[in-house]
């Protein structure tokens, strides 16, 4: 009997210990991941604050979404220490899950996690009170930030400034055309074809890719793309304006989907899909999978965000050295230029309203914008360890390895992008594209309202159009169906009617009102 009691006693002790053990290990598990910042704030803020200031960044600059791996642990440590030594800032990076960057950010902000700096479109963050105006901070600590941004791109500051003159973000990019059509020029040569200049020539190329199958074994995919790629890199060729809201003859602002030219464009795409030129599953591909197809030496042409192609080309070339993607720069549609230049967007680097130390955050950004080598440090790692100059005067360098992936990159800015040039095969194509094509205004069209729509009153729009998402969703869903042949093109006018019954009338009314208001205020 007593033996049983002893056993029972021991068992219960062990269970008790296990419960305690589990709960503490859970606690420490949290601390090393998301809760990290809490302990950091408590202890190190108290001990280190005399020397080093803490800055929490949310690593959604976009570089990590395209990186094939994250940094090696030692290299990450090294860069962290180097930043600390050179700037005096203790930077903590919160790494978002790929493809869910926006959702994670919303959750972190709503749950009061310490995040100081993040990038995005200011609209919803400002309207929901998640960010703070930067005017005073910029005046006090941001002289380098203002100096770095070139005068000719000044409109980018306007886009992040509201009517009262409050600046809500630090601009990241000027107007750029980032979606484009790439073609495998080595395959064109193999098939005795030249870079197409008209849609008909492009179709000949697609037909040849499909029938002559340069990849072999039926593996050639003439086109991979997605809806954004098609809209911004091609649809303008069928319309008088760039893809975006346009001004109809009746003086009203309407969505591009009711533009007659857009219907022709969709009809053409449906034809290509039906002929097997467009990859069958292209509209369900994520970036990762698209890059996989490109890497597997299967894709003849890609109508997509530039970096999906440029940043994977060197991987492709490891197995297929002759493989080369080139931009179909002279390709034109029946109505001229095919590329849409993005409008001025209220996009940039913002400071969390609840940031514990916004001064430190802005000082850190100022430090980054004060010297290009600081920028190269957070983006590419330590000089002569992760990269080395091949031409120091022009900031041409090659990356020595990919051991540091750029977790600490924040306040990324196109103002720097144009000042340096990586010469290694992994990074060169991207910078070539940015330098040669992204800002070239001679080959693009602008959306009709691009010069005013960043000044629209978003709060008023969402109050007056509570169901605006229904319309967006209907467009997203139905247009894809027309291309995939799930709905016949003869149904397109019916689709437009459906848009009206989902509230397009009201949409047109509100957008036209906003447009006229801003135009009037500008005068």
């Amino acid at each position: 009997m007593s033996g049983k009691r002893i056993v029972a006693g021991i068992v219960s002790l062990i269970m008790f210990a296990a419960v305690i053990g589990c709960s503490t290990s859970e606690k420490s598990g949290n601390a090393s991941t998301a809760g990290n910042q809490d302990t950091g704030q408590g202890e190190s803020a108290a001990t280190d604050s005399k020397k080093n200031e803490q800055v929490y960044i949310y690593a959604n600059a976009g570089n990590l979404a395209l990186a094939s791996t994250l940094s090696k642990k030692e290299d990450l440590e090294m860069v962290h220490k180097e930043i600390l030594d050179r700037s005096g800032f203790e930077v903590e990076a919160n790494i978002p899950p790929k493809g869910q960057e926006a959702e994670k950010l919303n959750l972190l902000l709503a749950s009061n996690e310490p995040i100081d700096i993040f990038v995005g479109s200011i609209g919803a963050f400002r309207d929901n009170g998640a960010i703070q105006p930067l005017n005073d901070l910029l005046d006090k600590y941001g002289s380098h930030i203002r100096e770095l941004w070139p005068k000719e791109w000044a409109s980018a500051w306007d886009a992040v400034t509201d009517k009262e003159g409050k600046i809500w973000a630090i601009p990241q990019m000027p107007q750029l055309a980032e979606k484009t059509i790439f073609l495998r020029s080595d395959w064109l040569a193999k098939l005795n074809l030249t870079m197409p200049k008209t849609i008909e020539e492009y179709e000949t190329v697609l037909k040849a890719l499909k029938e002559k199958d340069p990849a072999g074994a039926g593996q050639t995919i003439p086109i991979v793309t997605n809806m954004t790629g098609l809209n911004l890199a091609l649809s303008a060729g069928f319309m008088d304006v760039g893809y975006g809201p346009w001004m109809d003859q009746d003086g009203k602002v309407k969505p591009p989907e009711v533009n007659p030219g857009y219907k022709d464009f969709i009809a053409k795409m449906a034809e290509w899909y039906q002929k097997g030129y467009i990859y069958k599953e292209t509209f369900t591909l994520n970036t990762e999978r698209t890059r996989e197809l490109i890497k597997q030496n299967r894709v003849g042409s890609a109508i997509i965000h530039y970096s999906v192609v440029t940043n994977i080309q060197s991987d492709l070339q490891q197995k297929t050295p002759e493989a080369l993607y080139e931009v179909a720069g002279e390709l034109k549609g029946p109505k001229g230029n095919i590329t849409t230049m993005s409008g001025l967007s209220p996009y940039g680097w913002m400071l969390n309203k609840k940031s514990k130390n916004p001064e430190a955050a802005i000082k850190f950004i100022d430090w980054i914008h004060s010297d290009i080598e600081n920028y190269l440090l957070i983006m590419y790692g330590i000089k002569d360890k992760h990269w080395k100059y091949t031409d120091e005067a022009n900031h041409v360098f090659e990356r020595l390895n990919q051991d540091y992936a750029g977790e600490y990159l924040t306040a990324s800015t196109f103002a720097y992008t144009v000042q340096f040039a990586p010469s290694d095969p992994a990074s060169k194509p991207e910078y070539d594209f940015l330098g040669k094509y992204s800002g070239d205004t001679s080959r693009v069209k602008n959306p009709a309202t691009a010069d005013v729509d960043y000044l629209y009153d978003q709060q008023e729009i969402s109050d007056k159009l509570p169901h605006i998402e229904d319309i967006n969703r209907m467009i997203e869903e139905e247009v894809v169906k027309f291309i995939m042949g799930a709905r016949p093109m003869s149904d397109y006018d019916k689709f437009v009617q459906e848009l009206y019954s989902a509230g397009l009338d009201k949409w047109i009314e509100v957008m036209t009102e906003q447009y006229n208001k801003v135009k009037a205020a500008m005068k």
């Binding site: 069958k280 369900t284 169901h467």
Partner: protein
């Protein structure tokens, strides 16, 4: 003689002590946060913190009205109900059938192997299942389409075709959970008195009759219980699976309340609106649960309370 509550607690204090962690857990994590439901009737900005929940403006049923007036309201409701109904009609009897079949298999080794193999998929996370499905069903060399092609049939883009998407959801859901579901039924079957089978045999009942008159009635209590519970969860049409597999071309047949709430809340930052939609869903679930329980009692079965 009835004792007062304090003296009862004193007398059984050890039992109360044992149950306390469970009660405290439910209070802290399931009941106290319930007050947050009020944001469905207010305009709360997600970044303002807990205090805002109490102080923000009361807007009454505005968000509910917006939801029911939405162009896609009926699509979403139809999808949610249809997908769950398919799951119930095809998915609910599947483990019962498998359990009876397993029970009839007299080779113990075979029985064990089938049981183990069939409940392994339960332990695979939905993300992996989605990955497997995408790979199996792709038109670009996926095994299913290759087989179709070998048989001289047309390839089908299962995950992008509105005609097939729901079937893919339901069938893969059954595949994943059927084995796990049998465990509880097998336990119920094991509890049936062996004498009943002997008596049935003496009366001349064959295998089918034994199943019909002994096995099934022996399981009927647990079947009713699980049916009521699954009707309560009828509006949970399987967020994870759909979220991982859907794309614009199948929104029409795949968008359910949960995916809608996800997009409204986490992507569009309309927390109040998303809360209202989800509260709406919970209300319907409660009504369904009460209804099912009432019916079960009416037809002389045990209810859950």
């Amino acid at each position: 003689m009835r004792r007062s509550i304090p003296s009862l607690i004193h007398r059984y204090k050890l039992y109360y002590f044992l149950i306390a962690p469970g009660i405290i857990y439910y209070l802290i994590f399931h009941y106290i946060p319930l007050y947050g439901v009020v944001i469905a009737f207010k305009d709360v900005s997600p970044f303002d913190g807990v205090k805002e929940i109490l102080t923000s403006e009361w807007v009454g049923l505005k968000h509910f009205r917006n939801f029911t007036n939405s162009y896609y309201f009926w699509d979403i409701m139809r999808n949610t109900l249809l997908i769950s109904l398919y799951r119930l009609i095809f998915g609910f009897p599947a483990p019962i059938l498998l359990a009876i079949l397993l029970n009839e298999a007299k080779n113990i080794l075979f029985q064990r192997i089938v049981q183990t193999v069939s409940y392994l998929p339960h332990f695979i996370s939905m993300v992996i299942v989605a990955g497997l499905l995408t790979t199996f069903l792709t038109t670009d060399g996926g095994i299913v389409n290759t087989l179709l092609q070998l048989m001289g049939l047309k390839q089908i883009f299962f995950l992008g075709d509105a005609n097939y998407f729901r079937s893919v959801l339901v069938i893969s859901g059954i595949w994943k959970e059927v084995g796990w579901g049998t465990i509880i039924y097998l336990a119920a079957i094991a509890g049936i008195d062996a004498h009943l089978y002997e008596a049935a045999k003496l009366d001349g009942a064959g295998r089918m009759r034994q199943i019909w008159h002994v096995t099934l009635p022996g399981m009927s209590f647990i079947i009713t219980l699980l049916l009521i519970l699954s009707i309560g969860g009828l509006l949970d049409a399987g967020f994870e699976q759909i979220f991982l597999l859907y794309s614009p071309s199948v929104f029409k047949v795949a968008d359910i309340i949960d995916t809608y709430v996800y997009r409204k809340g986490l992507v569009d930052l309309q927390y109040s609106y998303a809360a209202a939609v989800n509260l709406f869903k919970s209300l319907i679930a409660v009504i369904l649960l009460l209804g099912a329980n009432y019916l079960a009692k009416k037809y002389k079965q045990e209810g859950i309370w």
